[in-house]
Amino acid sequence: MDKVLPSLEAAIADVKDGVMIAIPGFFACGVPRALLQALIKKGTKNLTLACGCGPMLGAADELKQLTLNGQIKKVIDSYGLFRSASKGMADPFEQAIRAGKIELEIYPMGTMAEKYRAAGAGIPAFYTPTGVGSVMENIVNEIKEKRTPKETKIINGKKYVLEYALQPDFAFIHCKIADREGNLRYAKTARNFNHVMATAAKITIVEAENIVEPGQMDGDDVHTPGIYVNRVVKVERPKFAITID
């Protein structure tokens, strides 16, 4: 089953207004910039971007454009994307947050990772020690009215928080090598959120720096088996500025 499509436009044709899209990347590493650029071109609105560790800092131009276009409704992340005081105030995204135009929901990074992993693995909810004793015992949102307590439980004398699976409608994935059947390999620390998000989403769309034939990747060396992948598009290797400000 050849999952390779000829263009990013074709790959995201069914990404409609109002959907939730998982965006992997850890700051500037492993971010699906080409798919984000196609999304800007398409103009899809009212989007929820489900992130993990500030990938939009690695796609600062795309974030600025998405914000100015009013395409983003909400961001879920462990990293609120806030810069230093001086730069932050000048940043359109931070301005939109402060103006209440974009909603922001925050979880600890390991909880984000586990929420995607749970969605992919059919685990509807799990207990975690992370965030106990902090404001993360609640849903944490810039909009204080939306904060509600999470369920907790004492297990073997220790307190834990119940967290739920997070299933995005789409995942935009960046990988080093894909085969035509959707088996993927990532490069070094660019793997980060890519694998779990590929497992979590209803539809997983991959931008790959290289495409090979099935069998050219050793079966023991596949990072994401093709079962999780719906579509693959070849892209140029992107350039990232390595900095978080």
Partner: protein, 225 residues
């Protein structure tokens, strides 16, 4: 009125002091800021640095041709690999962290109190409710030992070691040791125990910039660097 600020050790020296606690064979995670500097002092030691982005055994910072945009640490700095380095996905990375496999995590802090609660992820003075929590709460929940490395007071001389946190907590009761530019303090069920002070200072000097009452260890000594 803030107490008078005391000029302490440079940040590199705090990092050096922390590095003395890191033993051969340990798996260690270093947070952003002063903790990152600890890596400069453990060369030659058989220590494995974990980066929550999904790497074990991160090497030195990379320069020039060594820079690979697919190889960064959790502070978003280009790094080098070492023989034996490994990469893994983020769920595995936080499995390591949350699951108790990290021997020591070293974190920076905005405030810390006498019970070992600390605040580091959100500074409400910026007028925003939420901050960049990142992986800090997972590291607090999972690391076998949690150390804080920070300056003893703010640049303006405000106290950071306090009776009650005024900033949002990162974790409750998880810190075991505190390393500052002025002192080394152990957090015990009885309170904060002063173990070491900077050369030229007295315990009284340290107490003057520390809100909770310090217990002076009978063996309290000068910080060796």
């Amino acid at each position: 009125m803030s107490p008078q600020k005391i000029e302490g050790l440079p940040r590199e020296m705090i990092a050096l002091r922390v590095s003395r606690e890191i033993q051969d064979g340990m798996y260690v995670n270093l947070g952003i800021g002063i903790p990152t500097l600890v890596s400069n002092w453990i060369e030659g030691k058989d220590v494995y640095l974990q980066a929550e982005i999904g790497m074990l055994k991160t090497g030195a910072l990379a320069d020039g041709d060594d820079v690979d945009q697919d190889l960064i640490n959790a502070s978003c700095q280009a790094v080098c690999a070492l023989p034996g380095s490994s990469y893994f996905d983020i769920a595995e990375s936080f499995a390591m962290i949350r699951g108790g496999h990290i021997d020591v995590a070293v974190m920076g802090a905005l405030q810390i109190n006498v019970r070992g609660d600390y605040a580091g992820w959100s500074n409400p003075s910026r007028g925003l409710f939420v901050g960049n929590v990142g992986g800090s709460m997972d590291l607090c929940a999972g690391a076998k030992k949690l150390y804080i490395a920070m300056e003893h007071t703010t640049k303006d001389g405000e106290l950071k070691i306090v009776n009650e946190l005024s900033y949002p907590a990162t974790a409750e009761g998880r810190v075991s040791m505190l390393f500052t530019d002025l002192a080394v303090i152990e957090i015990t069920p009885k309170g904060m125990v002063l173990k070491e002070v900077m050369a030229g200072l007295t315990p009284k000097d340290v107490q003057s910039v520390t809100e909770p009452k310090l217990i002076i260890d009978p063996k309290c000594k000068e910080m060796e660097l």
